[in-house]
């Protein structure tokens, strides 16, 4: 059952990702990316990372994509996306590069020691729940957590200053 769901949503994620780069309009590309994000979030749930799956839905599919959609609506919602260069050679080169990288990754994953012996999770202990994530996040990773909160504060201030209308 779990495997069947995984393959269904993996195919959905790949279809959404392909749709992002094949759509002619910016708006449709953004909506396709939302589909991919939701499919990936369900794969997180299947892998037992419930909290991260919820964050994926709320932050990625919610906040970040709404930000993107608002900017697309603000600028030019029905603009056509053009390819960087109309020549077929460039398209072929880019696709070849992507396919080559995927080939390298595929062979590398084939050689990876997949059968890493994981210490068995004791029954009743649910990894991926908010509590177990918070245990690690607020004890072992406390300093990176504080540093990244400063990063996002700086990013918010920077975004406001950059997008501010200049009064000449």
């Amino acid at each position: 059952m779990q495997e069947v769901l995984f393959y269904i949503f993996a195919l959905l994620a790949i279809a959404g990702a392909l749709s992002v780069i094949l759509q002619k309009k910016t708006m449709y590309a953004a909506i396709s990316l939302v589909i991919t994000f939701m499919a990936v979030s369900i794969i997180y749930f299947l892998l037992g990372a419930q909290f991260i799956g919820l964050l994926q839905l709320i932050i990625y599919a919610g906040a970040i994509m709404v930000l993107f959609l608002i900017v697309i609506l603000l600028l030019d919602p029905f603009s056509e996306i053009f390819l960087r260069n109309q020549s077929l050679a460039w398209v072929g080169l880019a696709v070849l590069l992507g396919a080559g990288l995927f080939g390298i990754l595929y062979t590398a994953f084939g050689q990876a020691p997949v059968e890493i012996v994981a210490p068995p999770v004791p029954p009743g202990e649910l990894t991926g729940h908010t509590q177990s994530l918070a245990d690690v996040l607020f004890k072992q990773y406390l300093l990176p957590f504080e540093v990244i909160s400063i990063l996002i504060l700086v990013a918010i201030l920077g975004a406001v200053i950059l997008a501010k209308k200049r009064i000449s």
Binding site: I43, Y44, I59, F68, G98, L101, I152, A163
Partner: protein, 101 residues
Amino acid sequence: MAIPLHHLLILGGLLFCIGLVGVLLKRNLIVMFLCIELMLNAANLTFIAFARQLSQMDGQVIVFFVMVLAAAEAAVGLALVIALYRTRQTMDADDLNLMKL
């Protein structure tokens, strides 16, 4: 828990490569941003897969940090796109070939 690690890694790699091809092919700034988000997501997926495989929480914590980073990146990047559009009336990456705004 019978989803093979191999297939998860391949899914992550495929999503990453699709995002890479998108960044190389498109010249609309917003679509390039969308493809970068897709690549970040593919990396997150492999982190979660290894966190599951090793029964450790560290991978999930890293994914948490990557999400915060993606939010910051989207905020700053879209602010840059708005500022550029306001001065140049274009979203084409090839038209932005000067260092000054």
